[in-house]
């Protein structure tokens, strides 16, 4: 139901970016939220092929996700189903979509992680509740500040 979209402008051509996204050697160099190592990276970048990536964070915790490639159009589009496996993370399957567009300086990468809570999936409401969360967050911040003072 909800989705997350990030855009990056990268000084590298789309084919190089695409390889980094789809090869185990590439994935091992960037996947993960901190400098912790990638322990397993397996890919089979064709429609119906699977990927599996396991990484360790600097706090020692290990996390693994896997899924199936849904769309593989080198060097422009890549999408895959996504699921955390073998951990305490979120259950359920979501979808990762990556679009690469050639621009003068290299590549514009648009990354979307969608259907993050698929049980409630109703695509037309997606934007609505993201907006609602952002607005309501102001209230939350005020409330915590007030709580912090007591």
């Amino acid at each position: 139901m909800t989705s997350l979209t990030l855009v990056r402008r990268i000084k590298a051509r789309p084919s190089i970016v695409f390889d980094a996204l789809t090869t185990p050697e590439g994935i091992a160099c960037w996947w993960g939220p901190d400098g912790g190592p990638v322990l397993v990276a397996e890919t089979d970048p064709k429609v119906g092929g699977r990927f599996r990536v396991r990484f360790r964070m600097l706090d020692g915790s290990e996390h693994e996700s896997s899924g199936e490639y849904l769309e593989v159009v080198k060097p422009e589009r890549l999408s895959m189903s996504w699921r955390w496996t073998g951990g305490v993370e979120d259950p359920g399957e979501s979808v990762v979509e990556i679009r690469l567009r050639a621009i003068a300086e290299g590549t514009e990468l648009t990354f979307t992680h969608s259907r993050l809570r698929d049980e409630e999936s109703r695509s037309d409401h997606e934007q609505g509740w993201n907006g609602a969360l952002n607005k309501l967050e102001r209230h939350f911040l005020q409330a915590t500040e007030a709580a912090g003072q007591t």
């Binding site: 909800t2 990030l6 590298a12 190089i16 996204l21 160099c29 809570r117 049980e119 969360l133």
Partner: protein, 117 residues
Amino acid sequence: MVNYQERLDRTFSALVDPTRRAILARLEREESASVSALAQPFAIKLPAVMKHLDVLDDAGLITRTKVGRTVTVQLRPAPIREAMDWLRRYERFWSMSLDRLAAYVEGKEAEARKKGR
């Protein structure tokens, strides 16, 4: 006790509906409001509004206080905080990963250029 995943599901399913979001947005602006004041802008009947309030209450997003004949509704921000934290974890994960991806491929690009490709 309702577990974390169930709470998130409740929060998000409560937020799916535009009427409920409008109610929360109003409570966010006004701190508290009576049920009849909340119902007033909507082209739906009071019982329908009450149902929406039940869903919001079940999700822990509001509290209702009865004083005399007036029920006052207030926003409870804790589940929103939890939902935002949950979404931020994904954002942090991908944002950091994509920054590292960019640094890595920019290095590869520089190498490729050196080799004259």
